[in-house]
């Protein structure tokens, strides 16, 4: 019973060297990492937390009293900030455009700063939009989508309310704001 029942060729298995296994594991790991990076990362909630810093180059004639061509969140520390992402091709943005300008005129003397971020847009169309709705508060393009990536924007309009300490109060507002909602959210960041 102890005799060998099989041929020698059946028992011999070709073993791959260790480097082949290591390279395979390495390749699969890198591919998995790439797949994770390429997949859309989950949207951060950004509720009740420090607002990601940003720097915005403003459109000419849309500085809204800000000195210089750029404005940063760090410079605005100590002031309540309404940060609104919009685009000229966005229909819901048009619904709130006049309201935002009206609120800016109403609250600017109380130190509230409105900043408009033009998302995935073209400057000529954006300027036509700003002119059409009589917008005067600081506005600028989100070049290379740096800000929208930082704030994980999924669409427009989206609005963030940042208090004097540079923290987002509540969560982002997705969709057009109503007058009462805007007043209430501004009251929260003015505390």
């Amino acid at each position: 019973m102890t005799e060998n029942n099989t041929t020698p060729t059946q028992t011999k298995k070709t073993r791959l060297p260790a480097w082949v296994y290591l390279m395979g594991i390495g390749g699969i790991s890198v591919a998995a990492l790439l797949a994770l990076l390429l997949l859309r990362p989950p949207q951060k909630s950004l509720c009740e937390g420090p607002a990601p810093d940003w720097s915005l180059t403003l459109f000419d004639d849309y500085h809204g009293g800000v000195e210089g061509n750029t404005v940063t969140l760090a410079e605005l520390k100590g002031k309540p900030v309404v940060l609104n992402f919009w685009a000229s091709w966005c229909t819901p943005c048009a619904e709130e455009a006049a309201l935002l300008e009206e609120a800016w005129q109403k609250y600017r003397d109380q130190g509230v700063v409105f900043v408009g971020i033009d998302y995935l847009d073209q400057e000529p169309a954006a300027l036509r939009y700003l002119e059409k709705f009589g917008v005067t508060y600081p506005n600028g393009p989100d070049l290379a989508s740096v800000m929208s990536k930082r704030y994980t924007i999924r669409g427009v309009p989206e609005t963030f309310f940042i208090n004097r300490a540079g923290e987002i109060v509540g969560c982002r507002k997705i969709g057009p704001l109503t007058p009462s909602e805007l007043d209430q959210r501004i009251a929260e960041i003015m505390k």
């Binding site: 082949v20 390749g27 591919a31 685009a87 995935l120 070049l143």
Partner: protein, 163 residues
């Protein structure tokens, strides 16, 4: 009066020539849809997934094509226009990652994987070639033969019974 009549056709011709000289360059500078699409074909809609700019009917895409036309009319070349859109939207508008920074992995990895694959294939083929030829079957032992004979006999008996 006669002098005026005499020279009026020349005056009209002169006016026409001047008008043509003024209008012609403007007309010539207006890019055709094909010229616009030649650049739009190499750009991708930043709002869509996998839609080229020349095939996109979103308002944002229409605006982008308008900008291409304006820039062509202003005398900018394809590379400058593409660079402008990259500044505006990032690499996403090119439909391919740039070969800088971490993105270089995307370009290098497929080549690396291909090389590893070829290396493995070469190794596999050469190893199999060097493998020893199958040995002749080992001689059957007497116990094996007896067991086999017994088995064959039983099978034959069963077959006979079934007939």
């Amino acid at each position: 009066m006669n002098t005026m009549r005499k020279y009026s056709p020349y005056f009209i011709l002169l006016l026409l020539a001047l008008t043509l000289l003024t209008v012609a360059p403007a007309v010539a500078q207006t890019p055709t849809p094909n010229e616009v699409n030649a650049i739009a074909r190499e750009l991708w809609c930043p709002l869509c997934n996998g839609v080229r700019l020349d095939n996109c009917e979103l308002q944002a895409c229409v605006q982008m094509r308008e900008v291409i036309a304006e820039k062509l009319a202003a005398g900018e070349d394809k590379q400058a226009i593409k660079a402008y859109f990259v500044t505006q939207y990032g690499d996403v508008v090119l439909g391919a990652p740039s070969g800088e920074g971490f993105n270089i992995v995307v370009w290098v990895l497929p080549v690396l994987v291909g090389l590893i694959g070829v290396g493995w294939l070469v190794y596999f083929v050469t190893t199999n070639r060097k493998a020893p030829a199958p040995q002749p079957t080992a001689p059957i032992t007497s116990k094996q033969a007896a067991a086999e004979d017994e088995y064959v006999r039983r099978v034959e008996d069963e077959l006979k019974k079934s007939d």
